[in-house]
Amino acid sequence: MKKTGGYMLLEVVLALSIFIVAVVGLLSCLKAGLDADYEQQRFTNTRLNLQSLLDESLAVAPREGTKEYAPDAFQVSYRREIKLAKVKLEDGKTLNDIFRVSVVALDTQRDKKIIGELWTYASR
């Protein structure tokens, strides 16, 4: 049989495999970049929402209770809890007009919880 000097199947498969590995590597970099961008946006959005909830709590006189908020566009839901914080002073007296406001962002997709908190007087 006459030898024609072509490539062996093994060589072709090897070359194609290297090419595919390189392309998959580049594509995964691409995906990682997009994911990072999405996560950044998600975190910024959550942070702004938590700060907004804390600021909203300051606008009206605090009242004990819990309020749940529907999930946002990133499927992060929020909860605000206002509790009377009975702060004991060194002389034994108790401050009864300080409230603890805590806001929680529940990221069910990432199984993460981000908490923000502030303390406010009832009679500002």
Binding site: F19, L30, Q40, L58
Partner: protein, 225 residues
């Protein structure tokens, strides 16, 4: 002399083989080029988006801290208006030394600070701008109006903070009436909350950032003046 016989044992490639090889190579190279180009574009886009996020969060943080630390005597009026063809939402702060800037010892008490969300003259987008000036001595209480103050400080250039917003919305919360308003016309009181809705222009898709900022209430002695 050694002579090479082209027809015996040294077979070259035919034109078709060369063409096919070149075609395959072109496809592979263009594939790689496409992937690399897309990767680079993504890197640039992600970088731009991250910078944009930083710009917006910085702006919101600056405004949040500014509002939170407003001097007790500072009065606010705000309204959306169109002046000289420019659509804008103008927030006027009176007696606001140190607001959105370093507090200078020489800063006059009756300093006026204008914070404006202005649509670009060419309709390219909204910008967040500010300017500060001391009104003339004959400035009276009746002139504490966004439109009049805008005209009064017309010669002072705007200092642009952030631009390229597709849309900007500002609302003011009246805690007594429990309602959100598009303008704030009562300098004796302050809105309890100011809502900012910023929709970005630069990134691949429109991104809306909404923030609510608390404004401490005005003191009773200021309200009664």
């Amino acid at each position: 002399m050694h002579r090479v016989n082209p027809g015996h044992g040294s077979r070259g490639m035919t034109l078709i083989e060369v063409m096919v090889a070149l075609g395959v190579m072109c496809i592979l190279v263009s594939g790689i080029f496409f992937v690399v180009q897309t990767s680079l574009k993504t890197v640039i886009m992600v970088d731009t988006a991250a910078s944009r996020q930083d710009e917006i969060t910085n702006l919101v943080d600056i405004l949040r801290n500014g509002f939170r630390n407003l001097p007790v005597r500072t009065q606010i009026v705000a309204k959306p208006l169109v002046q000289d063809g420019t659509e804008q939402i103008v927030l006027v702060f009176r007696d606001a030394p140190g607001f959105l800037s370093w507090l200078s010892e020489k800063e006059a008490d009756n300093l006026i600070v204008l914070l404006a969300f202005r649509r670009d003259d060419e309709g390219a987008g909204w910008r967040v701008c500010m300017k500060r000036f001391v009104p003339p001595e004959h400035f009276s209480e009746n002139e504490f109006d966004a439109k009049k103050l805008l005209a009064l400080g017309a010669k002072i250039p705007w200092l642009e903070r952030v631009g390229d917003f597709r849309r900007v919305g500002v609302r003011f919360f009246d805690a007594e009436k429990d309602e959100w308003l598009d303008a704030w016309n009562n300098p004796k009181e302050r809105p309890s909350l100011i809502e900012l809705k910023l929709v970005s222009e630069k990134v691949r898709d429109a991104r809306s950032e909404s923030s609510v900022l608390w404004v401490p209430p005005v003191r009773s002695e200021v309200a009664s003046r």
